[in-house]
């Protein structure tokens, strides 16, 4: 009985973790869907967004290290702090600016190139952003507190204790992540289905050439999609950064999104969510049941094994578009 209760707790926590993975995977899906680009820089965008958010909140002078080294000044902070909500809005603005720059300086010059070239460009972008974030805001680990609660949910613990005699652990941050992810996905789906820009985005996703022929601006759509992906990266950065502090490792959360994408498909928003949930639950349950027999630390590799198993049966992923090529 105890094992069943423990397994249930692990299952629920797996779902919650899966939501956190989905948040990262969503950014990849948006860009891939609209432009066919696998954005290697998505993880670094989350890092850059979170660094910028903390920097704005703390009133940190950007490029202070560089300025101090060049001019012998001692700049550090402006002396003010910015409320979290305003800082999030300002950071979203920075991510839009970044999207515009990416479109103008990188993507525009690569229109019509092979997807692998665009992919390589995003690798370059990832390293550039990593360095830019470092130079702008410094390499220290930064505490991020936008007011999201953390720690065990007493309500859940007491309720489950009264029902089963064992209080379940659920992190309040995970509950908030679930709520925010649900809102985000609803907003994204509504945007894609019911707005003119959303329909244009879907048209571009379906066929670039056809979309261009009916007057849709590819340039605008790309900026829009990269901006939205930047905002999604900001949300992912907030969630993961709240947990571990904002630091370079945040960019590595992209690795957690890859099996989610393989499983859910690169072109489906629901796929990113369902894929995340399956990976989250799968890796946690495997670690719970099998981990102790094989020395533990199975989660990283098992997520990929799980994704590969799905790939064998559905190469396009669970919700991906089936590619049919007629000769």
């Amino acid at each position: 009985m105890d094992q069943l209760l423990y397994a249930s707790e692990v299952f629920i926590n797996g779902l919650m973790t899966g939501v956190m993975y989905s948040l990262v995977a969503l950014g990849f899906v948006l860009i891939y869907k609209a432009s066919g680009v696998f954005n290697y820089a998505q993880g670094v965008m989350a890092l850059f967004a979170a660094l910028t958010l903390v920097g704005i909140m703390n009133g940190q002078v950007p490029f202070a290290h560089l300025i101090n080294a060049m001019f012998g000044t001692h700049l550090d902070k402006f002396g003010w702090t910015v409320p979290a909500v305003l800082a999030i809005v300002l950071t979203a603005g920075v991510m839009v600016l970044l999207a515009i720059l990416i479109e103008k300086l990188v993507l525009k010059h690569l229109v019509g190139q092979e997807p692998i070239i665009l992919f390589m460009a995003t690798i370059g972008l990832a390293y550039f952003l990593e360095g830019l974030g470092d130079v702008m805001w410094g390499a220290d680990i930064k505490t991020l507190d936008v007011g999201l609660p953390q720690g065990i949910s007493d309500t859940v613990e007491q309720l489950t204790d009264s029902w089963f005699g064992y209080g379940f652990f659920i992190d309040r941050l995970d509950i908030w992540a679930t709520i925010i992810a649900a809102l985000l996905v609803t907003a994204l789906v509504a945007f894609a289905q019911y707005t003119k820009q959303g329909r244009a985005m879907r048209a571009v996703a379906d066929d670039h050439q056809a979309a261009l022929s009916v007057g849709i601006s590819l340039q605008f759509i790309w900026i829009m999609v990269w901006s939205i992906a930047g905002f999604v990266a900001l949300v992912a950065g907030i969630m993961w950064g709240t947990k571990s502090g904002v630091q370079f490792s945040l960019s590595l959360i992209a690795l957690k999104a890859l099996p989610v994408l393989m499983l859910g498909g690169f072109t489906s928003i629901p796929g990113a969510i369902v894929g995340g949930l399956i990976i989250g639950v799968g890796e946690k349950m495997f670690e719970f049941w099998i981990g102790p027999m094989v020395g533990g630390a199975t989660e990283n590799w098992f997520a990929y094994v799980l994704a590969l198993i799905f790939l064998v049966f559905r190469p396009q992923g669970l919700f991906g578009e089936r590619i049919i090529e007629r000769v």
Binding site: N13, A139, T143, Q150, I152, F169, K243, Q247, E283, E299
Partner: protein, 427 residues
């Protein structure tokens, strides 16, 4: 114009290349990558102490110290590249990475360079008969494990029978280092050990901490590095694990590790073999000669932090070994062989630490041909979240030599067998 250009080029070349008579101590640092936040602070402390010696004393024994820095990004291949790039004329290396250390151990034996790995690297390098060129004083991972268990014994009236200890560790050569020691100590003192690996980098540890919540160990020890530490401390706070029963190795004991968890980290403990904070006379000199004139590494923003202090302490030990080597050889421009001899005759007494301006900053270090690891003494510090500072809570404590000595002998013997080495005579 041409002459001016040529002299500029010559000047630049001369500035870039260390003068041949200088003492060259490369700093294989990492300021980028997942571990860059820690690496930066360590490198700053290491650089600043040598800058202080150059600025205040004109170097050591009249020789200036050059500290060429090379970025390893905590990557083993890059670390080896950095070693190759900086080894010309270099005396000693301190790469701050167990992975890089393992790769450099055979190389330094061939190149005859000193490898100094305080608190990390290969534990059995303590055996100087086998590892002629490697030093790991004042303490190694096995010392750390033993000192932590000694502390728990103190807390439990000398009896750990029936207690449950969980080890949360970075699933790497580094993280696995204390397992054997803790198993042996478990047999000796009657506690059960649960090993809980965390896959690098350690951003997600829900499974591990759910397991700890279910198993309810009395104590959790942690061998972590980088983001693993911050997440573990946050998760421990999330499940309301009593922080005073959570002890990290010294690499899980920096401000960077505890600050993100805020008040939740209050009471967390870690091992350390160096002092923390700025309440030492040396910092007055550092301020006068390095920080105020704007010569501090990275502007001096990390001065006094736990990892900065450790980097500075590594530089202190190297500087003292250089001093001893100069004294033994009667020359100021020493060779790596002479530095090795200096290390082997090193005797940093409490009185000497007072002279340096760091009273009680580290344990006494007395090395020999056979003993490259010192006494292995370490102490504990505890985090005060309100004051945002570490407080030292124990004196330096010796590890359990009865358990450790055979383990070191066994591991050193395995190394000699694998590498077909004949240990030198150290009598």
């Amino acid at each position: 114009m041409k002459l001016k250009f040529a002299s500029l080029v010559a000047g630049a070349v001369m500035a870039a290349a260390p003068a041949m008579a200088d003492l060259i101590v490369p700093n294989l640092s990492y300021r980028t990558g997942p571990y860059g936040a820690n690496g930066t602070q360590y490198a700053d402390g290491f650089n600043d102490y040598f800058t202080l010696l150059n600025e205040r004393d004109g170097g050591i024994g009249g020789e200036k110290i050059q500290v060429p820095e090379c970025e390893t990004a905590y990557n083993t291949e890059k670390g080896v590249e950095c070693y190759e790039a900086t080894k010309e004329g270099a005396l000693v290396f301190n790469p701050l990475s167990t992975g890089i250390t393992y790769q450099l151990i055979p190389k330094v034996s061939v190149d005859k360079k000193v490898l100094y790995t305080p608190g990390y690297g290969r534990t059995s390098a303590k055996d100087g008969a086998v590892f002629e060129w490697v030093f790991n004083a004042p303490a190694n991972y096995w010392d750390g494990a033993s000192v932590a268990i000694k502390y728990l014994l103190d807390q439990n009236g000398g009896d750990l029978n029936g207690k449950k200890v969980a080890l949360v560790y970075h699933n790497s050569a580094y993280g696995k280092e204390p397992i054997r020691t803790l198993q042996e100590l478990g047999k000796k003192h009657g506690f059960t050990l649960t090993e809980i690996p965390v896959e690098a980098p350690g951003q997600e540890q829900k499974s591990q901490w759910l397991q700890i919540r279910r198993d309810k160990p009395d104590y959790v020890l942690m061998w972590g590095w980088g983001v693993m530490n911050q997440v573990a401390i946050q998760e421990a706070a999330n499940i309301r694990f009593p922080m005073e029963n959570f002890i990290g190795i010294w690499w899980a004991g920096s401000e960077l590790d505890v600050l993100p968890a805020g008040d939740g980290a209050n009471g967390y403990k870690s091992l350390t073999f160096n002092g923390v904070g700025m309440d030492y006379p040396l910092y007055d000199d550092l301020k006068t000669h390095v920080i105020d004139p704007g010569k501090a590494s990275q502007g001096g923003e990390h001065v006094g932090s736990a990892v900065y202090s450790r980097g500075m302490y590594a530089a202190v030990v190297i500087a003292e070994a250089i001093r001893k080597a100069q004294e033994l050889s009667g020359t100021s421009a020493i060779s790596p062989e002479q530095l090795r001899d200096g290390f082997e005759q090193l005797d940093i007494t409490p009185e000497r630490l007072v002279e340096i301006g760091l009273p009680d900053f580290g344990p006494e270090i007395k090395l020999s041909c056979a003993n490259h690891g010192g006494s292995g003494m370490a102490r504990l510090q505890q985090w005060d979240a309100a004051a945002k500072k570490w407080n030292l809570i124990t004196e330096f404590t010796e590890p359990d030599a009865e358990v450790l000595a055979p383990l070191i002998a066994e591991d050193a013997a395995a190394y000699t067998a694998e590498n077909n080495i004949t240990p030198r005579a150290c009598d």
